[in-house]
């Protein structure tokens, strides 16, 4: 608990250096190089402080009172490096939040260096007494949003706040949804962007994930890297990411629907490979798909639980051995293997892990619907999904903005990441108090090479 270096290097030498006569506590405190040094009378409090790692000094003269000096080891139990572990990006900063609230606040303060960045601290958790901080920028963030977040957090009654993810679920507008309604991220730049565009961030003590809201559906498919690349590549990768969502949701259901009900839509030339690869498979397409999808989910789940080094071996075992062997044993067709592997791959492109999980989960009802009703089933599933998305709200803001309700002002940075000249507005649906982020680029002067 105590920082032994503090004790040996600072506290004890300071005590030794006190050669003069000591009259009272004030003399001692004046000699100690510690800010947090207070006298205490009550035994209960002394016990409490000692448990937190304070050092206690008693004087022969001053009986009934003890001096408590803060020599806590603040960093004990915390990790040394703060690289982002799960949200990796090739370009851009690699610092991420850690389990320490003070450091997290500091990290955010490094990116947004104006005094208007407000941290409001509350305590949540009847047992854990976790410090939770609401961060926003005064003068940009709409006060109503801050107020709503404050109210939501105030209403929480949890015993232990293990992670901010718990808070997210409790304050969510709709708890019966597979979709994450708040962005949780460990990337500092992502939270800095959210806060600077008028969202509210919630930092919870002991959690390396910071959540921000109100979030929209599109937020979960935006990677900070989109902004670090030029807008053409950024847009391309963003669209690829969106398409991969569609692919990972619908590829297997469409495979089932087509092979079970609508064989006539298979082009004649494609019929040949499909038939030959699936000829000796004894199962119906839906059984085949369920078998392979479950295998992939097992692999993923096992990979997530295993230590990193074993995880790699698992990938090889799963990918090659199970895939190859099941085709060899005529349990699945080659084409399905490709489809399932690709759709699993596609689901990993979603930058926010929670959203990627959601998409993987949603695949299964769609698979069952397509097995029951074919193409109609997929349509029914899609409509139900869309209806659900349309009804969702995050911190009272519609989830599907800017598509529905349609907000043309926000299209510059949604599906397409436009050039910085066109993304001068903050997200307008958040009603920020200042709408302009910056002035667009002025004319650059060209060096005249003709002489």
């Amino acid at each position: 608990m105590t920082d032994s270096r503090e004790v040996h290097d600072n506290l004890l030498p300071a005590l030794r250096r006190m050669q003069d006569k000591i009259d009272g506590w004030a003399d001692v405190i004046a000699h100690l190089p510690f800010d947090d040094a207070k006298t205490e009378r009550e035994t209960d409090r002394i016990v409490q402080k000692l448990q937190q790692g304070y050092a206690m000094i008693q004087l022969a003269a001053g009986a009934g009172q003890a001096l408590l000096v803060n020599v806590r080891d603040e960093n004990m139990g915390h990790r040394a490096n703060n690289d982002t572990e799960n949200e990796f990006s090739v370009i851009g900063p690699k610092t991420g939040f850690v389990e320490n609230l003070t450091i997290n606040m500091h990290l955010l303060r490094q990116q947004i260096a104006v005094p208007q960045l407000i941290f409001e601290e509350t305590t949540i958790g009847s047992l854990s007494r976790t410090a939770v901080v609401i961060a926003y920028i005064e003068g940009i963030t709409n006060p109503q949003i801050v107020e709503t977040m404050r109210k939501r957090l105030k209403g929480i009654d949890l015993d232990v706040v293990y992670d901010s993810a718990l808070l997210e679920q409790v304050i969510a507008d709709n708890s019966n949804t597979p979709f994450p309604l708040f962005l949780t991220t460990e990337r500092v730049d992502r939270i800095a962007y959210a806060v600077s565009s008028g969202q509210v961030a919630v930092i919870s003590g002991g959690s390396p994930y910071v959540l921000s809201g109100p979030s929209t559906f599109m937020d979960f498919f935006v990677s900070p890297e989109d902004y670090y690349l030029n807008w053409i590549s950024g847009t391309f990768f963003r669209i690829i990411r969106m398409l991969s969502v569609l692919f990972s949701l619908f590829a297997s259901p469409i495979y089932i629907a087509v092979l079970t009900y609508h064989f006539e839509v298979i082009p004649t030339r494609l019929l040949h490979p499909i038939m030959l690869s699936g000829l000796h498979v004894p199962f119906s397409p839906v059984m085949e798909v369920l078998f392979l999808e479950t295998t992939i989910e097992l692999l993923r789940e096992a990979g997530a639980r295993l230590p990193a080094k074993i995880g790699q071996t698992l990938g090889i075992v799963g990918g090659i051995v199970i895939g190859e062997a099941s085709v060899q044993a005529a349990l699945t067709s080659n084409i399905l293997l490709i489809i399932v592997a690709l759709s699993a791959l596609a689901s990993f492109t979603t930058p926010i892990f929670k959203m990627a999980n959601t998409i993987r989960v949603l695949r299964f009802p769609l698979i069952l619907l397509s097995a029951l009703l074919g193409g109609l089933g997929i349509v029914v599933g899609f409509i139900m999904l869309l209806t659900h998305l349309l009804r969702l709200k995050s911190l009272d803001t519609p989830y599907l903005v800017p598509f529905y309700p349609f907000r043309s002002g926000n299209f510059a940075d949604s599906l397409v990441r436009s050039s910085y000249q066109y993304t001068t507005n903050r997200a307008l649906f958040l009603n920020p108090q200042r709408k302009k982020r910056y002035k667009p680029d002025t004319v650059k002067e060209d060096i005249d090479h003709e002489d």
Binding site: F263, T268, H272, M275, L276, G278, V281, L373
Partner: protein, 357 residues
């Protein structure tokens, strides 16, 4: 409570609806791709080709069945197989000339009313028996189906555009008679397009040969392409039409009524006798004039031939109908059409590229 009820209803209806699903798991059915119809005494004989994936790795196999109606033939076929028969992917329907001459209404009616079949199905008449045409597909690849043979030629402009949809359109329209390609087996038992079959309503009347087919296509004006042979100073040349257009206009005031075809052709001449145009630029006009003249004569002859058979495959009647409020099909084809004059004007533009001497 209401949500729960709603969810329950949804699940229940999904389950119930699932019962209506017509599962055709693709590797458990036999997918027919081509069918031929022949007369077999009182009955109709159907020969079908399907890709056999189990024994032949996807090369085609043949089945035969007889019956009075396509559905009955299908039933007969079904009695012979261990797998469900599905005909949704049929892309070729071949009729023997015998059947086509007797009328194909019964067959077409069944086919046209079936939602399983698309409009892009190839209808064709076979000069030999349809059974022979389909039989020739035995152990062939799916790629060699008559559909692909005809489709390739339609794309290249050798055969006029034709499919079930267009056939039905012409069949039900008052001022035009339907038509379809004609197939036969050559000496090596390969399927080839040997002409174009013209129908009077549902009965086959006339089969054009391949040069006439090209001319017919020029008259239709949908996709004017192809190779037109002509003679110039006693030598044979071939004009390759790159693009062109045909405009049909009706002159109903003239006595007798006249139909004017304005044909514009753009093309080039490439023959092994040297680059004629490049050698002598002044010859271009002469060449074009001889093409225009010869083509005009051929087109008029073709129109007269069609006219003499009492059919209107080009759709002259449609053109007259579009300009005449009181147009009456029966009256038109009884009085006007048989005496109609055809005024064909051809404008050929020869283009030449490449280095000259």
């Amino acid at each position: 409570m209401r949500t729960k009820l709603l969810l329950g209803m949804l699940t229940l209806s999904a389950m119930l609806l699932a019962g209506c699903g017509n599962a055709n798991i693709v590797n458990r059915i036999r997918i027919l791709v081509a069918v031929g119809f022949d007369r077999d005494g009182e009955l109709c004989k159907g020969t079908v080709a399907y890709p056999n994936y189990i024994h032949r790795k996807g090369s085609l196999a043949i089945m035969k069945g007889t019956g009075n109606d396509p559905k009955l033939i299908l039933q007969h076929l079904s009695l012979q197989t261990p797998r469900k028969i599905r005909y949704n992917k049929i892309n070729t329907i071949v009729f023997s000339r015998e059947i086509a001459a007797g009328g194909i209404t019964r067959l077409i009616d069944t086919v046209a009313r079936d939602p399983s079949l698309g409009g892009n199905v190839l209808l064709a008449v076979s000069s030999c028996s349809a059974e022979k045409v389909i039989n020739s597909l035995d152990r062939q690849e799916l790629e060699n189906s008559p559909y692909n043979v005809v489709q390739q030629n339609i794309r290249d402009g050798n055969v006029p555009l034709s499919n079930l949809y267009l056939f039905l359109h012409d069949y039900y329209s008052e001022g035009k008679d339907p038509s379809m390609p004609s197939l036969r087996l050559d000496a090596e038992r390969q399927i080839e397009v040997d002409g174009y079959a013209l129908f009077k309503k549902e009965r086959l009347r006339l089969v054009l040969d391949t040069p006439e087919m090209t001319l017919f296509e020029i008259l239709l004006g949908k996709k004017v392409k192809g190779e037109v042979p002509f003679t110039y100073k006693g030598e044979l040349f071939v004009m390759s039409i790159h693009h062109g257009s045909t405009r049909l206009s009706a002159n109903m005031r003239a006595v007798p009524a006249a139909a004017r075809f304005e044909v514009r052709l753009n093309g080039g001449i490439r023959s092994f006798q040297g680059n004629r145009i490049a050698k002598n630029l002044f010859e271009v006009d002469d060449l074009a004039a001889s093409i225009e003249h010869q083509l005009m004569e051929k087109l008029v002859a073709l129109l007269k031939k069609i006219q003499a058979n009492g059919i209107d495959s080009v759709g002259v009647g449609e053109e007259f109908r579009s300009v005449d409020r009181h147009w009456n099909a029966a009256e038109f084809y009884r009085n006007v059409y048989p005496a109609m004059k055809f005024d064909v004007r051809v404008k050929a533009t020869l283009k030449n590229s490449g280095a000259g001497e």
